[in-house]
């Protein structure tokens, strides 16, 4: 019953999206005033209905209704409830429903709150949003129905991949999806503004909170995903340039560029065409990411060829939306002026430079990710990995970091380089001194790590410079946001460089009582015991770790075995200090009865993820600052309007 209800709500929501598109288009015709008022309510109703459909699916998973194919295939009655919940989106159909749900709720919220834009532009935006979501409704209803029943209820569910039964991963996909879908709203705004020839500061201000929000979620999603890989894969790696990781990195890069160019457009009226273009690119990258992850093409091009329905569907959607948007852009290119001018030394110029560098990195990641798929289709398997991505992206990233240190200090439109000499000279001196120190004292460090280690402290200092000479209590929140986000980049960069330059690894076969030294830690194996959890059993090592002779702390890494479905997972044990992280993994029993242990000391590694969190926090501050100001303005205009009506009477 619940499944049928969910399906019905999904169909009605799809029909409403169609209505929203048609009414939106009619409303923009000369005599369409009649339809103008229809679009907003329809968008809100569509959001509510699809949220209902998603709630129905969650209900089916929580109650483990095994007559539903999706539940039987991906869940199990014996799982903790939180993983039953996570199983809702831990599969293809559920995740696509989640995608549509977030997109339609986003559209509903735009319809509910957006008051700054011209009504025509807003209606065009909502029509664009309906157009995008219609494609995904079709995909769900025709090719991946999440509510499909089994002819005969299953006796027991097949469970969820053990790697996914982790609290970090349970909330990782929804976080990224909010990011992806936020960019779809930005895309809709870009379409709306192109259709009504309304690309200007008002459009940028309306779009900005969505871009910011999407960017915050993408940042958090990538950070959490990286930390998850770090502690569950059990070998201390935290970024693999895996296509799935790249699929989340590419929208982030595009969103970062979009965010900055959006700010220029909002406050200076410049970079109009560039902002619209980036809006299209950012959503394209979300779609490319979805295609890579959801089509099965990554396991093998051939696996994709065997069942190309889903992949082809997403590819067709990608072609329709991106092709359509680019055609629209080409048709309207003559009406989108470049906007206000600026000189070579100005904040706009530095932002343009860094946007181009971000797009350069994006291009590299895109090509490096897709190229192996291309050659595989031609019959040759090649790998593109860290030895390609690291140096090539650094080639674009290092100039970008340098400009990132300078840009926020420059004034809009036109500035003199001489004005900021000191603010630049101090960090530059710091970087040079650090580089010299590394070359002298740690000559074995690789070039990239050395550059990262030298640049990071200078960047951190430079990121604080915009606050100098300001009254800190009257500084607007978005300025703090920018400072914090840039500081986060420096912090993460330092963590990455330090982890790769100074990690020490110890692989050892140990008997209980044996002691091993790794970095500053002495590790004693106390014993190995079996333990059991709700749906797993495990071997657990008890280790005493003593930091430079201090009182030992007890750490317990596990090797878990899951039964539904069968699978293994290492559960590493981490101990974090201010200056680094100890990382312990229990391996297998060796032939002679000793236990294989893998021990790492990773100096300053946690800064990688603290940096990521700082970046997201910076975004949050900026978002709160912007939204608070919008709300204030909204209340003020409402009051004026109210007074006017009162006086009119």
């Amino acid at each position: 019953m619940i499944a049928e209800l969910g399906l019905a709500m999904l169909w009605i929501a799809a029909a409403l999206a169609a209505l929203q598109l048609v009414a939106g288009c009619l409303a923009l015709t000369p005599k369409g005033g009649l339809f103008m008022g229809l679009v907003r309510p329809v968008a809100i109703a569509q959001g509510v209905l699809v949220a209902g459909a998603f709630a129905a699916l969650i209900w089916l998973f929580l109650s483990t209704d095994l007559s539903v194919k999706l539940v039987a295939g991906n869940s199990h009655a014996a799982k903790p409830w939180i993983f039953k919940l996570a199983a809702t989106w831990g599969n293809h159909e559920g995740s696509m429903l989640m995608w549509v749900t977030i997109m339609s709720i986003g559209g509903g919220v735009v319809a509910l709150v957006e008051k700054r834009l011209r009504e025509e532009t807003l209606v065009a935006t909502l029509a664009g949003q309906a157009f995008v979501s219609l494609g995904f409704y079709a995909f769900l209803l025709l090719a991946s129905n999440p509510f499909q029943r089994l002819p005969e209820p299953a006796a027991e569910g097949q469970g969820l991949n053990p790697l996914l039964q982790d609290i970090g991963l349970a909330f990782h996909p929804p976080t990224l999806y909010v990011g992806y879908v936020g960019l779809s709203i930005a895309f809709s705004f870009a379409i709306g503004a192109l259709v009504t020839r309304d690309v200007g500061p008002a459009f940028a201000r309306a779009m900005r909170p969505w871009v910011l929000g999407a960017w915050i979620f993408l940042t958090l999603g990538i950070t959490a995903g990286s930390y998850w890989a770090y502690y569950t894969l059990g070998w201390g790696g935290w970024w693999f340039w895996d296509p799935v990781e790249n699929a989340s990195l590419m929208p982030w890069l595009a969103a970062t560029a979009l965010l900055h160019s959006c700010s220029v457009l909002a406050s200076r009226g410049a970079l109009k065409a560039w902002t619209v273009m980036l809006g299209v690119v950012a959503f394209s990258m979300s779609m490319v990411g979805t295609f890579l992850v959801r089509s099965g093409i990554l396991t093998s091009v051939h696996a994709f060829a065997v069942d190309p329905t889903r992949g082809s569907f997403i590819l067709a959607l990608l072609a329709i939306y991106i092709g359509g948007a680019l055609t629209l852009f080409a048709l309207r290119a003559n009406t989108v002026t470049e906007g206000a001018r600026f000189s070579f030394v100005s904040r706009e110029a530095s932002l343009v430079f860094n946007n181009v560098m971000l797009c350069g990195i994006l291009g590299i990641v895109l090509i490096g990710t897709l190229y192996p798929l291309l050659t595989e289709a031609m019959g040759v398997k090649v790998s593109v990995g860290p030895p390609y991505f690291n140096p090539v992206s650094a080639f674009f990233a290092i100039p970008m970091f340098l400009i990132m240190a300078v840009g926020p200090l420059l004034r809009w439109r036109d500035d003199k380089a001489a004005r900021i000499t000191w603010a630049v000279a101090v960090p530059a001196f710091l970087a040079a001194a650090a580089l010299l120190g590394i070359v002298i004292f740690a000559p074995a460090v690789s070039v990239l790590s050395a550059l990262g280690l030298a640049l990071a402290p200078a960047l951190a200092l430079a990121s604080l410079m915009p606050l100098r000479g300001r009254n800190l209590r009257r500084t607007p929140l978005p300025i703090y946001g920018g400072v914090l986000a840039h500081l986060g980049i420096a912090v993460a960069l330092f963590g990455m460089a330090s982890e790769s330059a100074f990690s020490t690894e110890k692989l050892a076969a140990m008997n209980p009582g044996d002691v091993q030294q790794v970095g500053p830690y002495a590790i004693t194996l106390k014993g190995i015991d079996p333990v059991a959890g709700p749906n797993w059993t495990a071997l657990e090592a008890t280790l005493a770790a003593s930091y430079e002779g201090a009182a030992p702390i007890i750490l317990r890494p596990q090797a878990r075995t899951f039964s539904n479905p069968p699978g293994n997972r290492t559960e590493s044990a981490l101990s974090t200090r201010w200056n680094g992280q100890l990382y312990l993994v229990l391996g297998e029993e060796a032939a002679d009865g000793r236990w294989q242990m893998r021990l790492w000391w990773k100096p300053f590694a946690p800064l990688i993820w603290y940096g990521g969190v700082l970046i997201a926090l910076g975004g949050l501050l900026a978002l709160v600052g912007r939204v608070a100001r919008d709300v204030k303005r909204l209340v003020a205009t409402d009051k004026i309007a109210f007074r006017r009506t009162a006086q009119g009477r």
Binding site: L298, R341, S343, A349, M378, P386, A509
Partner: protein, 142 residues
């Protein structure tokens, strides 16, 4: 009854899946799979190389990052050869001969990968053109 049937099926599946594992156990042990070379300089060299070799049985992990038995065997190979004084790039070439280009995360310069190496240059030229156009125009206006 159904439960029992499922249990039997599960046992059968487990039995079918286990032979490769059992076969692994019969192979001579690869001592350097989980053991480092005593000389830290050589171990660092081996580690650098292992990070750039793909584990053929995993998704996007290097042999330095994987529990797969095959990755363990390859680590053993790499460490043994490095300890014997072989050049890392020679070991890479040897592995590519055995397993194909796929095994190396460092793309080899061949006609099939030319576009991959041309890409950064093309992007750089595009970026330079874009920036030049942008700034020339803004200068003209100023």
């Amino acid at each position: 009854m159904k439960r029992l049937w499922l249990a039997i099926m599960a046992l059968l599946a487990a039995a079918l899946c286990s032979p490769p594992l059992a076969a692994q156990d019969l192979l001579p042990p690869a001592p350097y799979a989980y053991k480092q070379i005593a000389d830290p300089a050589l171990e660092a060299k081996a580690q650098t190389l292992m990070l750039t070799l793909r584990c053929l049985k995993c998704q996007s992990q290097s042999i330095a990052d994987s529990d797969a038995p095959m990755a363990g065997d390859m680590r053993h190979q790499v460490r043994t050869r490095i300890a014997a004084g072989e050049d890392p790039e020679a070991i890479r070439v040897w592995l590519i001969e055995r397993y194909g280009d796929y095994v190396s995360y460092t793309p080899q310069l061949k006609p099939i990968t030319w576009p991959l190496f041309a890409a950064p240059l093309i992007i750089l030229v595009l970026a330079a053109l874009l920036l030049r156009g942008r700034f020339r125009r803004s200068k003209a206006a100023a």
